[in-house]
């Protein structure tokens, strides 16, 4: 049953990847100018453009380029960056680690904090602590991340000079240097993603708390802590893991603002650079990675909700 569902979802995932690759290819092709225009910029002439297009294989029709890209992808070859000439796997290689380290560290801090705070607020609804958590999360959701990041840089890097203003890694840092360098971007992202997860955990649990079986448990005299941890939490896991999955996917693909402010070479910035230089193979490769991350994380979230809630195993 479970196996079938997983296989089915993986099949749909691969179909999604295919559709996304076509859409990204078409949209990037519609943008004004191609990679040759961008490389030569102001110094382009019709002759140099034609020569460069021929050199880059851009003089072929789009469908031939698309299918040759698809064929190479199937054999595991991401191709060569049209704009710079470096192999795309080498461009992605260093950045994917940067992105994964950042996403991993942020998740390690933010997921436990969010679940604990969310549970706490749900256990004591209406108390001062609950109000502080609600107020805090609402304020951090409404403040944009570039604002948090910029203020922190001004205070801790420019004024106090405690932390570096940009996340520049030489590759020889030890753990404490790495932590110091990553502190500000990490805190910014923790603030941004935690708020949403805290609110979702709290809302999910409170939602379950209003259902009849919880009322029954209350009437039986089960202590509130036990009701939440033993009965309510399992039923609320579905929506909570889904929010966590979406936030993790965001940490991989959507943190371009933080990457820009701290000048951190990650995947999101790489994709923007790819679009700006009309570097189709590079954009495609990033799009495929992001899409795959979403598909896998949502699949994992669904598996987690099914495991935690037996009723979902027998859809009506």
């Amino acid at each position: 049953m479970m196996m079938r569902m997983v296989l089915q979802r993986l099949g749909i995932g691969i179909a999604t990847l295919f559709v996304v690759s076509v859409i990204v290819f078409v949209i990037t092709s519609i943008l004004p100018g191609d990679v040759a225009d961008i490389i030569l910029g102001q110094s382009a002439t019709p002759e140099t453009l034609a020569a460069l297009r021929a050199e880059l294989g851009m003089d072929q029709p789009w469908y031939i380029r698309y299918f040759s890209w698809l064929g190479n992808l199937a054999s595991g070859d991401l191709g060569i960056s049209k704009a710079g000439g470096a192999s795309i796997s080498s461009l992605i290689d260093s950045r994917i680690w940067n992105t994964l380290i950042m996403a991993g560290m942020v998740s390690l801090i933010s997921i436990p904090i969010s679940i604990v705070l969310g549970l706490w607020a749900a256990m004591h609804p209406g108390t001062r602590l609950d109000r502080i958590v609600t107020f805090g999360t609402l304020s951090t959701i409404s403040v944009p991340e570039f604002f948090i990041a910029t203020i922190m840089v001004l205070i801790f890097a420019v004024k106090l000079k405690w932390l570096p203003a940009t996340l520049y890694l030489t590759g020889n840092e030890n753990w404490s240097e790495l932590l110091k360098a990553m502190a500000m971007p990490m805190i910014t992202l923790v603030i941004v993603v935690s708020a949403q997860m805290i609110r979702m955990t709290r809302a999910g649990i409170l939602n379950v708390m209003s259902s009849p079986y919880i009322e029954m448990a209350i009437l039986k005299g089960v202590p509130r802590k036990r009701i939440i941890l033993r009965h309510a939490l399992y039923n609320a896991i579905g929506p909570i893991v889904n929010v966590i999955a979406l936030n993790l996917a965001y940490l991989v693909s959507g943190v371009v603002i933080v990457e820009t402010i701290f000048s951190y070479p990650g995947l999101a910035k790489l994709m923007i650079d790819g679009v700006q230089t009309r570097d189709l193979p590079l954009v495609q490769a990033c799009a495929m990675i992001f899409c795959a991350v979403y598909v896998i994380l949502i699949l994992l979230a669904d598996i987690a909700s099914i495991l935690s809630n037996p009723r979902l195993r027998h859809p009506k």
Binding site: L52, G84, G85, A157, T166, Y168, D279
Partner: protein
């Protein structure tokens, strides 16, 4: 560096006080250092400030070896280049300067200096140039520099299949060939007295024959690692053919966000931050540990009125646009004083002797603007504006506000930089433009104003202009040459569709202990010539 007001000079100080001033000026030029110096030497605060400056200049006279410098450019990406002929950004130029050499190097005031060529001689009409190649130069892989390498590198800019960025600039050369054991010849299509200067362009680097660069050059630094869009690390080349670099190593990266770049400079993450915007001047000034390096250059803030379509085809419309520019205010307020007034020609005093200072300055005059707009019979126009250079958007906004005063409806159509050169420039009837400063007045004028030139971005085709551009290349008499350049600037000033109200300086942020940035106005940080020359105090 005398200091007449306070009566005390740096040279008057005792050695202990000199050392103290040097030490303090390294720490910073702020109030704190002035106070310390004033307290410990008993001079006034005003005198202390100038003593600190003098100390800095005195120290600059004796370069020191050692240190690692981190440089943050304004742009980089997966499209960072290894192949010199495709270099397009300041980080490419700086890397190229560090790893490769050219035949000719452009020194202070754009004077051509020997680099890989020890000497060069033209034939009688400058249509054939002979270059002697330096002996004993080695590539980083240990192989010797040969004339074949030079011929190969130079010919890559020529021919139909060439994708070189400077293909059209170098098109006056027909062919490069070996003419002796250590000698090459450039055969030109016609006379060109400026050829050696053009060889100083960033893209004209010498690479190993049959390669595409591959960071195997003859330059002052070797390449240790290169990650496009992340960073590159370079170590001093100990086998360099001349004394070479002062720094042990340099790391080249970019911080694309202008605010983050300035923050990184002030917090000490980087020692040079290139391309500082006028908005950030005050932040740099108020920080103790950094200063602004501002080199006057001919970076034009231009508005093109196309002469092949309405409204630019009407000379009076162009005149109206030119009189509409409040030039002094643009330089003072928008460029915060780090720029110079333009006279609707692309040549500025940074071009040296070829600049026509005799040409009367066109002033801001709303009455004249109104008169010309009325004569042209237009009561409105639309400028396509992209942030192609800092200050251009504000310049257009200022023109809009002034136009409103005389009842002229100047609309601004804001478009992004992305795709601008292909989709807007040379297509929309009125648009903004900037050009990197070219090393010679001739190449600067020819690129935009030669009749039928590919980038004649106002479509102004003047026969006399074409004749003068060609004739001036073979004119070796300075007075006659100047007269020719003056006539060309007058033609552009009066007849073309260009509005050039101002030129921006080249502005970079530099840590106080970084010395020796050369005075070359052709790119950021001393024309990107800094790697070989800067040193850390």
């Amino acid at each position: 560096m005398n200091n007449s007001q306070s009566g005390i000079r740096y040279s008057d100080l005792t050695q202990t006080h000199k050392d103290l001033a040097c030490k303090l000026s390294k720490e910073g030029m702020g109030r704190r250092e002035m106070m310390k110096l004033s307290l410990m030497t008993g001079v006034s605060l005003v005198a202390a400030k100038s003593l600190l400056l003098d100390a800095k200049v005195a120290m600059a006279a004796e370069p020191k070896k050692g240190g690692t410098l981190r440089y943050a450019s304004n742009l980089h990406g997966p499209d960072d280049k290894v192949d010199p002929r495709l270099f397009t950004s300041n980080i490419d130029y700086s890397r190229g300067r560090a790893v490769y050499n050219g035949l000719v190097q452009l020194g202070e005031n754009i004077t051509p200096m020997p680099e890989l060529a020890t000497e060069w001689t033209p034939n009688s009409d400058a249509s054939e140039w002979t270059f002697t190649i330096r002996k004993g130069v080695k590539f980083h892989d240990g192989s010797d520099l040969t004339p074949e390498d030079v011929v190969y590198s130079m010919n890559r800019h020529l021919g139909e299949k060439s994708t070189s960025v400077i293909k059209s600039v170098m098109s006056s050369v027909k062919e490069w060939k070996k003419s002796g054991p250590m000698e090459v010849k450039a055969i030109l299509n016609g006379p060109n007295a400026d050829l050696p200067i053009l060889l100083g362009l960033f893209q004209n680097k010498v690479i190993k024959a049959d390669s595409t660069g591959d960071w195997n050059g003859t330059g002052p630094f070797t390449s240790e690692s290169f990650e496009p869009g992340v960073k590159s690390v370079h170590k001093r080349n100990e086998n360099y053919w001349r004394e070479g670099a002062n720094l042990d190593a340099i790391e080249l990266t970019a911080i694309t966000d202008p605010v983050a770049r300035v923050n990184a400079l002030i917090s000490g993450d980087v020692q040079i931050a290139s391309n500082i915007e006028p908005k950030a001047f005050r932040q740099i000034d108020s920080a103790d540990n950094v200063n602004l390096s501002s080199i006057p250059a001919a970076l034009q803030l231009g508005i093109c009125c196309l002469k092949n379509s309405a409204p630019g085809e009407n000379d009076d419309f162009v005149k109206g646009m030119q009189f509409l520019q409040d030039r002094e205010r643009i330089v003072k307020r928008i460029l915060k004083g780090k720029g110079s007034i333009g006279n609707d020609t692309p040549i500025s005093s940074a071009h040296g002797a070829d600049f026509c200072s005799e040409l009367p300055q066109r002033e801001f005059d709303l009455d004249k603007a109104k008169f010309h707009f009325k004569k042209a019979g237009v009561d409105g126009a639309e400028i396509f504006v992209a942030p192609v250079t800092s200050g251009i958007e504000d310049t257009c906004l200022l023109a809009q506000a002034n136009a409103a005063k005389i009842g002229f409806d100047l609309k601004l159509k804001k478009v992004p930089n992305d795709g601008y050169w292909g989709a807007v420039w040379m297509k929309e009837p009125v648009n903004v433009v900037t050009w990197n400063m070219r090393p010679t007045a001739n190449s600067q004028l020819a690129i935009q104003f030669a009749p039928g030139a590919k980038w004649n971005d106002t479509f102004w085709n003047n026969k006399r202009m074409g004749e003068l551009l060609t004739a001036s290349l073979s004119e070796l008499d300075p007075d006659k040459r100047h007269a020719m350049y003056c006539e060309m600037q007058t033609l552009v000033h009066n007849g073309s569709g260009m509005v050039i109200p101002a030129f921006s300086n080249i502005n970079d942020g530099v840590a106080n202990n970084i010395m020796g940035i050369p005075n070359v106005p052709l790119g950021q940080v001393g024309g990107c010539e800094w790697p070989e020359f800067v040193w850390m105090a």
